[in-house]
Assembly symmetry: C2
Amino acid sequence: MPQIKIIMAPKSKDASTEERIKEAARTVFTQKGYSATRTRDIAEEAGINLALLNYYFRSKEKLFELVMAEKVGKLFGVIAPIVNNQNTSLDEKVTLIADAYITMLTQNPGLPLFVLSEIRNNPEHFGNKMQAGKLLTESYFVKQLIEKRPDIHPLHFIINVLSMCIFPFIAKPVLESAGVMSANQLNDFTEERKTFIVKWFKAMIDS
Amino acid sequence: MPQIKIIMAPKSKDASTEERIKEAARTVFTQKGYSATRTRDIAEEAGINLALLNYYFRSKEKLFELVMAEKVGKLFGVIAPIVNNQNTSLDEKVTLIADAYITMLTQNPGLPLFVLSEIRNNPEHFGNKMQAGKLLTESYFVKQLIEKRPDIHPLHFIINVLSMCIFPFIAKPVLESAGVMSANQLNDFTEERKTFIVKWFKAMIDS
DNA sequence: ATTAAAATTAATCATTTGATTAAATCTTTT
DNA sequence: AAAAGATTTAATCAAATGATTAATTTTAAT
């Protein structure tokens, strides 16, 4: 029978089951990606019966899209308010971006690799199109970059700043697996970069 | 019955079927990752019967490990001879790295995201451990970096150079999907960076 | 040409996996 | 307390999937 059930106001009560599933989904999806994740993995991680996953979220894909939207939002939400601010200088923006990004990624180290590889596998999952695109092409940050260096495409500098912030987290599995750095050392390393990146950015844009 | 078949010398003849399967595997695995790849996808891409895949390669996993080893080799093989060369200066090394990496990645744009996300999912796939680790900690390049800037951990500069080369390719699916750049524009963009990155590296290390 | 080995195919297996169902338990309302 | 609704569970389904088998065709050797 089709979907004509009476929708009750969501019982604001405990909500713990639904949230536990979502949290488990965040963990497992981020760790293994969409395809390698079994709904049973999520159920086990959440400590619930498998059928509850479909009871609350209809399907694996629906649940994934929920998590994915969250993660994409987190990945771009960090810079959006910074790059559109008309009251901060170029250097201040880079300081804020490096600080905000590295802080957030330290707590969500798997985030970039997860989002980027899922978008590769399934670009439609990336509903954010215009939003994210405009940050990279029409923000006040871009305007300031062009003003300072009209001879170089602003995306070069944006990519440089983002790559220097994000890349260590993308390379994390390799650095750890190859025995180059422990997780703790990597934390110190990226923390150091918060100040370095600004210095390097200044040197690059003035060169 | 166990594996006691007589192994004949491989018929050096055509070899086309085996190679076609391997080539199809390269394509599909790189595009979709291990978990999302169906052996039937590979068989179809290669235009062969599914059973032949197992006839030649025993299993999906064996075939994958073959492809993975190749790809890891390609990703690290590019820099190995450059960073260990005792007859080139620091700046020359960066020039060579940027050129070699961007050239190779232009022809294998999906390579970094593939290797990095598979290593995340299954670190054991990364048999390269010591080899790759030493490149990042014991190469002549590292020695030169320490000599020039003993006050800053050399890995900062290594990560900076690598990130500026590789990151645009990792971000490629987002840049295209978000409408920021077409594939062609991205090619021009990364080509430009071959010279820029050296200039930026000099500015950074002297700052 | 005959024979043996190698390559290829269609059919099939066993497991995994996302999803559903029907019954049971818990909660809320009356 | 009884009824109704919401939540949870065990059992099961159907499709997908990696792999195998047994037969057939092709290739190579004698």
